[in-house]
C-alpha cells in the first residue's frame, strides 16, 4: 500500500501490465520522451523503450486505427488521446471499426484495444480542453466505457481494461489527476468492468454518478449528515457501458429518491439512460421524481473564470440538489 495520486495509479497500472505482458504497448502524442502532457506515461519509455512507449505522428485516427490493426494481430495496445476533446477524428475508427469487429466477423476477429482519454474541466482549458465526450460513444454496443473516480479504481479498472478481449474506452478525469491522493495497493489487483460500487450507505436519498463529481457528492453527503441528519446512499457507476443495472435499481429501491450527477451535458447524457432504466424497472418504488444535476446544455465550457465556475459542478451545487431531493 502506498499513498499516491490518481495519475500515479494510472501510470502504475500500465507499468505493471507492461511488465506482465510483452504485447502491451502505449502509443500516442508526446507519450514517449516527454512522458505525456500530464506526465501520465512519465518514465515508462526509459523502462520499456521507445517502441513500446511510442511517440506517434499527430493524427488521432491513425493512433486509433493502427492500434486496432495491431490488436487484431494479437497485441494489446493502449492508445492515448491527449485530450478527449481531440479524439473525435478517431471516432470513425472507434465506432465503425473497433466496436464492430467481433460482431461483423461473427466472432472470428476481436479488437482488444484500450483508448485512454482525459475528460473534464475546471483547469481553465476552455472549450477544447475540458469536454466530457462519453455520451458520444455511449450507446455504441461493442464498446466498453470506464470512468474511474478514485485512484484505487483507476488502477484496478485500467488493468482490467488492458486484459479485456474487447475495446475499452478509459476516460480518466484530468482534474482528479493531482487532486485525488489516496492509498493504492502496490500488488496486482483488478477492479472488474461492469460492476458499480456503493461509496456510501444511506437511507434518505440515492445519488448516482461517476468520475470527478462524485467527490463533490461525497463531501456534500458528509456535511448533510452532520448538519441535517440526511443520509445519502452514493453509487459510483465506474463502468458506463455496460451499465450495472442491478446495482442501479438496488440503490434506488433503498431510498426511493434518486439524483443523478455528471459533468457531461444533461441532454442525451448517461443520466438520461440511467433515468430511463429506473423509470422502466422501478417507477413505483420512487417517492420523488428522478432528478439530474449535470452541466448546462451549451457546446462546451468557456475559459473565463466566472463562466467556467458557472459551468462546473461544485460541492455546493450538489448539496443544494441533494437537499431539494431530500425535502421533496
Amino acid at each position: 500500500m502506498a499513498v499516491m495520486e490518481y495519475i500515479d495509479a494510472i501510470r502504475l497500472a500500465m507499468k505493471e501490465e507492461m511488465e506482465r505482458d510483452e504485447n502491451v504497448f502505449i502509443l500516442g502524442e508526446d507519450v514517449g520522451v516527454k512522458g505525456g502532457v500530464f506526465t501520465t506515461t512519465k518514465g515508462l519509455m526509459d523502462q520499456f523503450g521507445e517502441e513500446r512507449v511510442m511517440d506517434t505522428p499527430l493524427a488521432e485516427s491513425a493512433i486509433a486505427g493502427v492500434a486496432i490493426g495491431a490488436a487484431m494481430y494479437g497485441m494489446k495496445p493502449i492508445a492515448e488521446m491527449q485530450y478527449s476533446d481531440f479524439m473525435l477524428p478517431a471516432t470513425n475508427q472507434i465506432i465503425s471499426e473497433a466496436a464492430k469487429i467481433r460482431y461483423r466477423s461473427n466472432n472470428d476477429w476481436n479488437c482488444p484495444i484500450v483508448v485512454r482519454a482525459p475528460i473534464g474541466g475546471g483547469i481553465f482549458g476552455g472549450l477544447y480542453h475540458s469536454q466530457c465526450p462519453e455520451s458520444i460513444f455511449f450507446g455504441t454496443p461493442g464498446l466498453k466505457i470506464v470512468a474511474p473516480y478514485s485512484a484505487y479504481d483507476a488502477k484496478g479498472l485500467l488493468k482490467a481494461a488492458i486484459r479485456d478481449p474487447d475495446p475499452v474506452l478509459f476516460f480518466e478525469n484530468k482534474k482528479c489527476y493531482k487532486l485525488i491522493k489516496e492509498d493504492v495497493p502496490l500488488d496486482d489487483y483488478i477492479v472488474p468492468l461492469g460492476v458499480a460500487n456503493v461509496l456510501r450507505e444511506g437511507d434518505d436519498i440515492t445519488v448516482i454518478g461517476y468520475s470527478m463529481p462524485l467527490h463533490f457528492c461525497m463531501q456534500a453527503a458528509e456535511e448533510l449528515e452532520k448538519e441535517m441528519g440526511i443520509t445519502a446512499h452514493v453509487l459510483d457507476l465506474r463502468t458506463l457501458q455496460p451499465l450495472d443495472r442491478n446495482a442501479i435499481l438496488e440503490s434506488v429501491r433503498k431510498t426511493g429518491k434518486v439524483l443523478i450527477v455528471h459533468e457531461d451535458n444533461k441532454t442525451g447524457g448517461i443520466g438520461a439512460e440511467v433515468s430511463a432504466i429506473i423509470s422502466e424497472e422501478c417507477l413505483y418504488d420512487l417517492d420523488a421524481p428522478i432528478m439530474r444535476l449535470c452541466s448546462p446544455d451549451v457546446p462546451a465550457m468557456p475559459i473565463s473564470p466566472p463562466m467556467e465556475k458557472f459551468y462546473m459542478l461544485t460541492k455546493d451545487k450538489v448539496k443544494e440538489a441533494m437537499i431539494h431531493l431530500a425535502n421533496y
Binding site: R104, D164, I190
Partner: protein, 344 residues
C-alpha cells in the same frame, strides 16, 4: 486457333521466377473471379441474392498481387471489389456464395455483412467495413506488430482511387513511412468513385503521394499481370528487408457498374466502356499464354466448363444452406464470459 498460330513471343514470366503452371494458375483465378462476378450479377437480377458489388476489370491486378505475396504468412486487408484477390489467397467460391446469400455458414461474417466485406482469420484476411479506407491504418497496425514481434510477414492493403482521398489513407501512409513498416498499399485505380470520374477526384497521380511520405510510389498497368506481380514482389522484398512501405497505383478500369444498384450509363458512355474492354487483363493473359504455346482454346473451353461447374455447385450449396437463426442477431457483441475469463 491451332498450334500453327502460335507466335513466338518472349517468355516474360520465367525471369520473374514463375513457372508455366503458376501463370496458368494465375489465369485460372482471374477467370474464376470473372465468372463468379458474372454469376452474382445474374443471381441478383433473378432475385436470388440482394446485392452484388462488382470487381470486373480488376481481377488481373488482384490475382497477380496475391501471387506475389506469401500466402502462408502475410496479412491481407482487401477492399470490397477484391473477389480475385481473396479467391487467390484461399477463399473458395462456396464461401463467397455463402456470403452472397447471407447464410449462417458464411466464414466472412456469418451472413451479417453485405457481400464483398471479406474476412477470415484462417486465411489472414482481416475483417473489413463499408466506410472506405479505414483498413489502411489497420494494415499499418499489422505491419507495426510484425516489426515489434520481429516476424517476417508483410501486410497488404487495397483501396480505390476515390477512397485514397480519405484522411485514413494519408494518416496511415504517414505513420507507416515514419516507422518504415512492412506494408504494401495498392490503389486499384479503376477511374470511377461510383459515378465521379478520376479528374474530379484527384488532380495529380496517386503514386506521387508516396513521395510526401518518404517511400516509393509506383504506377503500374493493372491489366498487365506480370508487371503487377513484379512490382508487388519487389515491394514485398523491400518490406522484408526493413526498407519500409511501398505505394502501388495499379491502373485499370471498372468495366461493370458500381453495383447492382447502379446505372453507369447515366454518367459514362457505352463507347468508353467498350474501349476499355479491349484492354481487359484477363483476355490479355489468355492471349499471352496461347501465344507462348502453353495454353489453347480447347483447354480454355474446358476450364470455363470446370469453373462454371464449381460456381454452380457453390451456388446450389449456398442456396440450400440455412440462414442464421434470427435470435443469433444478439450474439458476439462482446466476448463470451468464458473467453473474457481466459483473458484475465
Amino acid at each position: 486457333m491451332n498450334d500453327n498460330d502460335v507466335i513466338n513471343v518472349e517468355n516474360q514470366h520465367e525471369q520473374l521466377g514463375l513457372s508455366d503452371g503458376q501463370v496458368i494458375d494465375m489465369y485460372r483465378y482471374m477467370l474464376l473471379a470473372r465468372k463468379f462476378d458474372e454469376r452474382n450479377l445474374l443471381l441478383q437480377r433473378a432475385g436470388k441474392i440482394n446485392f452484388h458489388v462488382s470487381g470486373v476489370g480488376q481481377e488481373t491486378a488482384q490475382v497477380a498481387a496475391a501471387f506475389a505475396l506469401d500466402r502462408e504468412k502475410d496479412y491481407f486487408l482487401p477492399y470490397y471489389r477484391d473477389y480475385g484477390f481473396v479467391l487467390a489467397v484461399g477463399m473458395t467460391p462456396r464461401e463467397l456464395m455463402l456470403s452472397a446469400f447471407a447464410k449462417a455458414e458464411d466464414p466472412n461474417s456469418g451472413g451479417r455483412q453485405m457481400p464483398g466485406h471479406f474476412g477470415s482469420k484462417r486465411l489472414r484476411i482481416v475483417t473489413g467495413s463499408s466506410p472506405v479506407t479505414t483498413q489502411v491504418p489497420h494494415a499499418v497496425g499489422f505491419a507495426l506488430a510484425a516489426k515489434m514481434k520481429k516476424q517476417d510477414f508483410v501486410s497488404f492493403v487495397t483501396f480505390g482511387e476515390g477512397s485514397s482521398n480519405q484522411g485514413d489513407f494519408h494518416e496511415g501512409c504517414n505513420f507507416a513511412g515514419v516507422h518504415k513498416l512492412p506494408v504494401i498499399l495498392m490503389c486499384e485505380n479503376n477511374q470511377y468513385a461510383i459515378s465521379v470520374p478520376m479528374h474530379k477526384q484527384i488532380s495529380g497521380k496517386i503514386s506521387d503521394r508516396a513521395l510526401g511520405y518518404g517511400f516509393p510510389g509506383i504506377r503500374v498497368d493493372g491489366n498487365d499481370a506480370l508487371e503487377v506481380y513484379r512490382v508487388v514482389k519487389e515491394a514485398r522484398e523491400r518490406a522484408i528487408r526493413g526498407e519500409g512501405p511501398t505505394l502501388i497505383e495499379a491502373m485499370m478500369y471498372r468495366l461493370s457498374p458500381h453495383s447492382t444498384s447502379d446505372n453507369d450509363l447515366a454518367y459514362r458512355t457505352q463507347e468508353e466502356v467498350d474501349e476499355n474492354w479491349k484492354k481487359d487483363g484477363v483476355a490479355r493473359m489468355k492471349s499471352y499464354l496461347i501465344r507462348l504455346g502453353i495454353w489453347d482454346e480447347d483447354k480454355d473451353a474446358d476450364l470455363v466448363v470446370q469453373l462454371n461447374m464449381e460456381i454452380k455447385e457453390a451456388t446450389e450449396y449456398a442456396d440450400r444452406a440455412p440462414f442464421p437463426k434470427p435470435e443469433d442477431t444478439l450474439l458476439h457483441v462482446y466476448a463470451s464470459a468464458e473467453e473474457e475469463k481466459s483473458w484475465q
